[in-house]
């Protein structure tokens, strides 16, 4: 188990190197550079040359990339070319906002989705199930930003109960959480429902019922315990995705999070900032998936056995 964890963490390093190379390369390929966002009306070409030198733009990309990687391997994410502030601090100062938003959306989504999914599975085939399906379909097909805009108009303008921007109180959480959580809960509900239905068909349930095990125990010990895994996978994936920061929701609600930081870094061609943000996000992503895998192992002794016996069964989905 430990070996597996360490192996996964070690794989993180080449992945991060690849990711940073791709981002760095892509942004360099993009027309324009950070200098172009700083040029004012009165500058002449000489001024621009001087600016280029100051930001190292006159040296070839490999040189700059090499410098960046050198710092990175020493654990230094560098400073933003725009503000001069260390990227790690800038990211961390905004990350709690994204974290709170993601976690709230996730909690609300899960709290709604799992009971709903169980309910739908229990009444599969009836009108309740179809209503739930309709609801989840809606959640899956509604563009999050559209919902966000509609909520903004409805709750901040028509009925003035929630603030339109970020003001630090609990009130400003409601609308973004709904916008974010709606599609999240839709996916998790579907996953829960199908996982439970899948388990319901298994033979061991029939056996348990035939044996006379009370229904509640059947549900608890057999259905839920086995349905857990795909549900957790889905939740893990969703967590990872939202922690990356939803740039679109943050744009609509002026949320000071990390999602919009990335969009900003790209428009300003702030290469170090973009790389740094992506690296931090990718690291979080991989770490969360690792945690999910570990939870699998803790929850399901079959999977634990696979790891500890040395035979590594790779997840194929």
């Amino acid at each position: 188990m430990i070996r597996y964890t360490i192996n996964r963490i070690l794989w993180l390093i080449p992945i991060l190197i690849c990711v940073s190379f791709i981002i760095f390369g892509l942004l360099e390929l993009a027309p324009g550079s950070i200098i172009d966002t700083m040029i004012t009306e009165e500058m002449t070409t000489e001024d621009i040359e001087i600016l280029k030198e100051k930001y190292g733009m006159d040296k070839p990309m490999i040189y700059r990339y090499g410098l960046y990687m050198w710092n990175l391997l020493h654990g230094d994410l560098g400073t933003s070319q725009v503000t001069g502030l260390p990227i790690f601090e800038m990211y961390m100062s905004r990350w709690p906002n994204t974290l709170m938003l993601s976690l709230s959306s996730l909690v609300v989504g899960v709290l709604i989705a799992i009971p709903l999914g169980i309910f739908a599975a229990k009444y599969a085939g009836t009108i309740w199930d179809n209503l739930t399906t309709g609801f989840t379909m809606l959640g899956l097909s509604m563009p999050a930003f559209w919902l966000g805009l509609l909520l903004l108009i409805w709750f901040a303008y028509r009925i003035r109960i929630f603030p339109a921007g970020y003001d630090g109180t609990w009130k400003c959480f409601v609308m973004p959480v709904i916008a974010n959580g709606f599609s999240m809960s839709a996916t998790i509900t579907r996953q829960t429902r199908s996982a439970i239905l899948e388990v319901n068909r298994k033979d061991y349930l029939r056996t348990a019922r035939a044996k006379g095990v009370p229904e509640r125990q059947v549900t608890r010990k057999h259905v839920l315990a086995n349905a857990w895994i795909p549900i957790i996978t889905q939740i893990g994936l969703m967590t990872a995705m939202t922690l990356a920061g939803s740039a679109v929701i943050e744009a609509v609600y002026s949320w000071p999070g990390v999602g919009y930081m990335l969009v900003d870094a790209i428009s300003r061609r702030d290469v170090t900032m973009a790389c740094g943000t992506v690296i931090l996000t990718a690291t979080l992503y991989v770490l969360i998936l690792l945690v999910v895998d570990i939870i699998y192992a803790v929850v399901d002794p079959r999977i634990r056995a696979q790891y500890t016996s040395g035979k590594r069964k790779r997840r194929t989905a």
């Binding site: 990711v19 097909s141 563009p143 999050a144 930003f145 559209w146 805009l149 303008y157 990335l262 991989v286």
Partner: protein, 296 residues
């Protein structure tokens, strides 16, 4: 069982045709899937109509006297901030969403399935490398990749398709690899080897057809998410160039007028929802229809 499997190998042609008909019959009973299919067909019809009867000029005709008009009989969806009829623009925009849904996902599907099949079939180092590259692709946030690609290549439909295509590749790689892995050790392949088929033919004629069903399911699921992703990118400003009326771009253009002219954001949004909804319904229906063991 063994006997029937070899028999089906020989009568592959017949089986396949019968299989498709079976699938269609099962699909027809699923009202949701039929609805989805009907809507998609409607969108395709609309797109054809706009190809024949509309020119780009109709779509961007500016009329300074009729700006921000609410929906009326002359303008079913109202007009936008430049006096352009929103109904015509939304209909014209169908082509972009269809192009993304089919084209972008198609690109991703072809590339992803190809690499996934190779990874699954050959295993070993090929498998490791391909899977790690997929991990890298997967950990790049989709929006970021899309934004950067659009920034480099310039706004446009092809660019948007490439950007979205990239984001769906990893799903197809995983799916193809899983399918291939599960079929690799089956008797189909053993018998094919026994007959003396070349490796290449084995992969493409035996392995792939059996992975059709997860492929279709992944394809339709991705269609829905791609339409939404494209709308999201356009919303952020990284989509098709102005004044092309892609639905996400229309929402973005209308977002400043939410309080005064909400119809500008409403109608494109409804269309996006309809499209994603139909793709999802169709996907679900296909998944159920292709899997005979699943009973409602």
């Amino acid at each position: 069982m063994r006997k029937s499997k070899s028999a089906t190998l020989i009568s592959k042609q017949y089986r396949r045709k019968g299989f498709l008909i079976e699938v269609w019959l099962r699909l027809r009973t699923n009202r949701g899937a039929v609805f989805g299919l009907a809507v998609l067909a409607l969108f395709i019809l609309i797109m054809v109509y706009t190809f024949i009867f509309m020119t780009p000029a109709d779509v961007s005709k500016i009329d300074s006297k009729s700006r921000y008009l609410p929906p009326s009989s002359a303008h079913p969806f109202g007009t936008d901030d430049m006096g352009r009829d929103l109904f015509v623009r939304v209909l014209y925009g169908t082509r972009y969403s269809l192009a993304i849904a089919f084209g972008a996902v198609g690109i991703g599907a072809v590339i992803g399935t190809f690499f996934g099949s190779i990874a699954g079939y050959y295993g070993g180092w090929t498998d490791q490398i391909i899977m790690r590259i997929t991990d890298v692709l997967h950990s790049l946030p989709g929006i970021l990749l899309g934004m950067v690609i659009v920034t480099i290549l310039g706004a446009g439909l092809q660019t948007l398709m490439i950007a979205i295509g990239f984001t769906v590749i990893s799903g197809f790689v995983r799916m193809a690899r899983a399918s291939v892995l599960s079929v690799k050790t089956s008797e189909f392949v053993e018998s094919a080897r026994a007959i003396g088929m070349s490796e290449f033919r084995i992969v493409f004629s035996q392995v792939l057809p059996n992975s059709i069903s997860p492929l279709i399911v992944t394809f339709t699921a991705r269609m829905a998410t791609s339409v939404l992703a494209a709308a999201g990118l356009s919303f952020l400003g990284f989509g098709v160039p102005v004044p092309l009326p892609e639905w996400g771009a229309l929402i973005s253009a209308g977002r400043n007028y939410l309080t005064t002219a909400p119809h500008l954001t409403l109608f494109p949004g409804i269309f996006i929802m309809l499209m994603a909804f139909s793709c999802a319904l169709l996907g679900d229906g296909l998944r159920d229809a292709l899997d005979p063991k699943l009973n409602k």
